[in-house]
Each structure stands twice: as C-alpha cells, then as structure tokens.
C-alpha cells in the first residue's frame, strides 16, 4: 500500500470504520462476517472507488457498498441454508441485548432502511437513493420494520 493510500485508509477508517461495521452487523448479526464485509468495503474504497467531491458522497458510497455486500453475503447464507443468528453482543446491559436482538431479527429488507433512517438520520428520499429503492418502498419498509420492532419487543416483554 502506498503512502497516499495508507493515509487515506487511516483517515477513512477512523471516520467511517465503526459506521460501516455497525451497518454490517445490523445486516449479518455475526462479528466475523461484519469484519469480513468491513475489510472488503475498505479494500474497494482504496482500490476501486472514484474520487469523491466531498465527504458526504464518500459516506453514502460506503453505506451503499456495505449494504450491497451484506445482501450478497445473505444470499450466500440462504443458499447454504445456514441463516442463523449468532450475535456477539456486549453483555453488560441486558436491555441493550434485547434491543439488538430485535433489530437483528428483522427481515433483511427492513434492516437497511431502518438503520439509515432512524440511526444515521437520512431522510426517506436519501435512504431510497442510497439503497436503490423508491421512496414509497422505503416508507413501506420503515412502517413495517417499525411495527415488527415493536412487536418483537412486545413478545419478549410478555415472556
């Protein structure tokens, strides 16, 4: 890796590394898989990405590539019929674990819209552009994903 690439990696990873990893964890639910995707995303950033006019465009590109790579991973999981959840969470706060389990148990199609809109703060239109969906599809997925999150927690609370 050349010095310029090293510098760009240091800067990009420090700024976006946790963000990329977090989205990958939301999709994949396994630390090792999320790390694989994070590694591949930064590989593509350094070796294949175009020059970005500003940091926001770079950030959106990273979200887009992360989501697409995760969906590819999940496709592989289903082919191998090993789509199980093995989340490795911090154990200090049980309430966090309950929330994370509910988020990770969402069907794949709701994860990207829910995360980008509610956690990262993108608008419906921006979320649609990043994920290659129509705004109406994003709205529908947000609504259903929101309902499912509440439903999952409700069931757990009953237990």
């Amino acid at each position: 890796m050349e010095e310029e690439q090293k510098r760009r990696f240091e800067q990009s990873y420090d700024t976006y590394g946790a963000m990329v990893y977090r989205l990958a964890m939301v999709y994949l639910g396994r630390q090792a898989d999320a790390e694989d995707v994070t590694q591949e995303v930064f590989y593509r950033l350094l070796r294949k990405a175009p020059a970005f006019p500003d940091q926001e465009r770079e950030k959106r590109w990273l979200f887009q590539v992360t989501a697409n790579l995760c969906k590819d991973q999940l496709k592989g999981f289903w082919r191998k019929r090993t789509a199980a959840l093995e989340a490795e969470f911090p154990e200090e706060r049980p309430e966090d674990r309950a929330v994370l389990e509910a988020v990770l148990a969402l069907p794949e199609i709701y994860k990207g819209p829910i995360h980008l809109h509610y956690y990262e703060g993108y608008s419906v239109a921006e979320t649609a552009e990043i994920l290659g969906l129509s705004p109406s599809a994003v709205k529908m997925r947000l609504m259903r994903g929101r309902e499912r999150l509440k439903l999952e927690l409700g069931m757990e609370e009953l237990v």
């Binding site: 890796m1 090293k6 990696f9 590394g17 946790a18 990893y21 964890m25 630390q31 090792a32 999320a34 790390e35 694989d36 994070t38 590694q39 930064f42 590989y43 593509r44 350094l46 990405a49 175009p50 590109w61 887009q64 697409n68 590819d72 496709k75 289903w78 019929r81 090993t82 199980a84 959840l85 093995e86 706060r93 309430e95 966090d96 929330v99 994370l100 509910a102 988020v103 809109h117 509610y118 956690y119 703060g121 993108y122 608008s123 419906v124 239109a125 921006e126 649609a128 552009e129 290659g132 969906l133 129509s134 109406s136 599809a137 609504m143 929101r146 309902e147 999150l149 509440k150 927690l153």
Partner: protein, 471 residues
C-alpha cells in the same frame, strides 16, 4: 423501545480494536484475504432449528362455488444474455435494446449519477444535489424506443401545520400517462423528528396526498392532508370524522374517491372511516373478527385478513362491505408463505389487485382472487425447482411478475424472469445468463406492462443501470 434505547443499543456495536490493523495488513497484501471466521458450535444447531419445516394445514377455499382457471406456461428456449455495465460514470443516459426469443422486448439503460425510478409510474427522475444534500434541480424522464424522453417537471411549495410542527417542503412532480409522479426530499430523518411525504391519488391529477408524521418507533404518528398542486394549499381530510379513536395513526389507506379510509395504529388496531357519514368505527367491533390486516378491494369492499390455525401461522380471508355490513369468507386456513424457509410454501398476499399467490406443498402454484374466491392454476409449473422466488403484482393486478434467484449477478442474482398475464391466461418465462460485473439491487413493475431491474456496476457501484422487459 424508544429512539434513545434503540440508538443507545446500536452505539454498542463497535468493531474490535485490532480490526483496523488487520485490514491495514491485508491491504498491504497483493489480493484481499478473508479474516478467519470465528464460527461457534451453536451455529449448526441454530441453522437446523431455522430449517425445520412448519406443519401447515391444507389450504382450502371457503366458497363452495369455487371456479378454477388455468394459466399456460411458455418457457422461452432462448436465454437472455444480460449485458454487464461498462463501468465508469456515464455523462448521458445510453440505451440499447433487443428482442429475446421474438417475444420479450428488453431495453438496457446506463444512467449517470443521481437517477432513480418510481415504481409503477413509468418514469425516471434525476436529482441534482448540493454538497449538503439539498436539491439544486430535479428532472423527470420516461423511456422511449430510442432513449430517454424528458418530461415537464413542476414544483409546488407548501407549508402545513400539524400538532405544533410546521412542515415546509417542495414537491417535484410530473404528469405522465394520466398519473402524477411525485418526489419530495422530506426532512433530515430523525435529526428533526418529523417528516412529510407525498403520494398520488388514483385518477386525480390536481391534488396529492400529503402525510405529515412525527416521532419514531412506538412514538411514530401520522396525519393525512390533501395538497392542492396548483396553489400549495393544504386541507384536512379527517376533520370531524372521529378519527381520534384510532390515534395515534401509523397508516392510512384511501378509497379511490377519498370517501372512506382504513385507519390503523400500532396500539389501536384497524378502523373504517366514512368521510361522507363523518364516522370512524372499529373493524373488530363492526365485523366481530380479530382483524390482523385490512385493505381496499375497491371503494365499496374491504379485504380483511385474520390469523387462524393452531399456532396462528395461517390466515383467513374475508370481504366486508361497509354499506350493507355483509361479511363473506373467501379463503380459510391458508398457510402463510415463508420466503427463504426450506420447503417454503403457502399463501403470499399482493397489495395490488386483491390477489394472492398460493404455492402448494408439492410446488404447484395458483393465483387466488381474494374477493371472489376464484383460483387460477399455473399449468406445468412447479416452484420446487426454484430458490426463494419472488412474486409481485402490477398495480391493477392484471399481471404478476415472477423472479427466481441464484444467477451469477450479485445482489438479487435473477436467473429467471417471467410474467403471468392473468387476462391472457399465459405465463411467459425467460431464463437469464448474467456474468460478473452487475449488481442487481431492486426489482418491480416500471409501469403496468414493463418489468424493471435496477442495478449497479458491481466493481464500484458508481454506474447505475435500468433494465426493462416487456413480455
């Protein structure tokens, strides 16, 4: 779960401290290498549990006068050779086209940055944004035989006030084929804790629905108003109807003539609002059912879903006519289709046309008319050979899109694409040969007759492409 709990929990998903060093080391290598995976012993057991087939009841139509029609399958001998994006960023849209098997017309369009597409309306849009994400210019296009055709783009600015919040936004819209397509930027997500979205009214070109919302997760609530596209004037739609019994609203569906609405809330259930009579009634109380979901079949008939079966894994289908109060069951104990489950089969509901797909345990497929109880069997076709297929109806429910996955392209990896034409009684199926270099991101109806696949060059995701198919 409130938003703070949600975000607080996600904040705890942080990468291991050594991940950065590992990636840096890997990037120094000539080719990327995967980190060794830390599989846990419990994985196999969990996977096995996930793969357990559900024990469903046999689906049966409730109507004794059930009629059965047949769809004839035509599988094209010639497979589509799916072109890969050329890479790089196109400055202008580029279109090529071909006819596959002398039957399916395909158009392949490479698009510059900023393009998107609207499901079902037959238009593309392009947003030119400033660095801060604000829209500098907005354009609509439709797809002609030789390229993109620009459409006249209009803007409507509005200000609306609901529950103490003032909403100000610009709607970009165009009229094409007698329908209006809309785009509005909305607010900056959760940063402001409120949002507004615009949607079309069927057959109405002068006004649009505007949904104002506040809060998130269990605090989410919405309120619909009517937006005049010429003046930007906003008027309430539910005032005086007693809609408050259903509040906080999370979803509102409208009859085409806006005379009635189905209201639903996460905590309150399902309600029928009659704007002419200024009444709002609980669907549970009015029908005696425990309604799981409700939709308009037409302006005078609702489709109601209730859960059934020993474990609530099945659903019953009903029609209910608000004027007469007549309640009719059209299907009972339909197992629910579990996409991606091993040996997946059962009922999948469409949100257009009041129809559903039923995949039997032996893989045979039927289209169910949820209003009449009629079924249409697909002759000579079995789902058993397909991996997690997708079905999507067009807006009017006259055609059903079929896609199977497992092709060479990344993302959706669509290996076969077909359309069931319910009026013509034909199901045309096209096999696809995709190479590397294409990432298929989304699939749907571009308009009433054309299927769209939206994709990217998988090398760098900077080039978008739209593939259209007319069967």
């Amino acid at each position: 779960m409130n938003l703070d709990e949600y975000k607080g929990a996600l904040d705890r998903l942080t990468p291991a401290p050594d991940l950065k060093d590992h990636i840096r080391d890997t990037l120094d290598a000539p080719a990327p290498a995967s980190r060794p995976r830390k599989r846990r012993a419990g994985l196999a057991a969990l996977a096995a549990a996930a793969a357990v087939a559900c024990t469903f009841l046999v689906a049966m139509a409730a109507s004794p006068q059930l009629r059965t029609a047949v769809l004839i399958l035509f599988r094209l001998e010639e497979a589509e050779q799916v072109p890969a994006p050329t890479g790089g960023t196109a400055e202008t849209p580029e279109l090529t086209q071909s006819t596959i098997g002398r039957q399916v017309e395909a158009q392949y369009i490479s698009l510059p940055a900023g393009f998107g597409w609207s499901y079902g309306n037959g238009v593309l849009y392009q947003a030119e944004r400033a660095d801060d994400g604000s829209i500098l210019a907005f354009h609509y296009w439709t797809v002609g035989a030789d390229g993109l055709i620009p459409l006249e783009t209009h803007t409507t600015e509005f200000t609306a006030v609901w529950d103490g919040v003032t909403y100000t936004d610009t709607v970009y819209w165009c009229e094409y084929g007698g329908e209006i397509s809309y785009y509005n930027n909305g607010t900056a997500g959760m940063a402001l804790d409120y949002d507004c979205t615009v949607s079309a009214l069927v057959g109405c070109t002068g006004k649009a629905l505007l949904t104002l919302s506040q809060g998130s997760q269990i605090d989410y609530r919405a309120y619909p108003v009517l937006l005049d596209l010429d003046t930007g004037e906003v008027t309430g739609l539910l005032d005086g109807t007693g809609w408050e019994v259903a509040a906080p609203l999370t979803q509102v569906q409208w009859a085409d003539d806006l005379s009635a609405a189905i209201l639903s809330g996460d905590r309150t259930g399902w309600f029928y609002c009659d704007r002419d009579a200024n009444t709002t009634v609980s669907l549970n109380e009015r029908t005696g059912l425990e309604v799981f979901s409700a939709y308009f079949a037409d302006d005078s008939t609702l489709i109601l879903l209730t859960l059934s079966g020993p474990d609530g894994d099945c659903c019953d289908i009903w029609t209910w006519q608000p004027d007469s109060g007549i309640l009719t069951q059209t299907f009972s104990e339909l197992p629910v289709y579990q996409r991606h489950e091993e040996q997946s089969w059962g009922f999948q509901f469409f949100f257009g046309g009041g129809q559903g797909i039923y995949a039997a345990e032996d893989g045979t497929v039927s289209v169910l008319d949820l209003v009449t109880g009629e079924t249409t069997a697909v002759e000579g076709f079995s789902l058993a050979q397909w991996d997690a297929p997708t079905f999507i109806a067009n807006f009017t429910g006259t055609k059903v899109l079929f896609a199977s996955h497992g092709g060479q392209a990344d993302g959706l990896g669509i290996s076969s694409l077909g359309v069931m034409d319910l009026e013509a009684g034909a199901f045309t199926l096209l096999d696809r040969d995709s190479g590397a270099g294409l990432h298929e991101a989304s699939l749907g109806w571009f308009d009433e007759n054309r299927v769209a696949i939206w994709g990217y060059a998988s090398e760098d995701f900077t080039q978008s492409c739209l593939y259209l198919y007319r069967f």
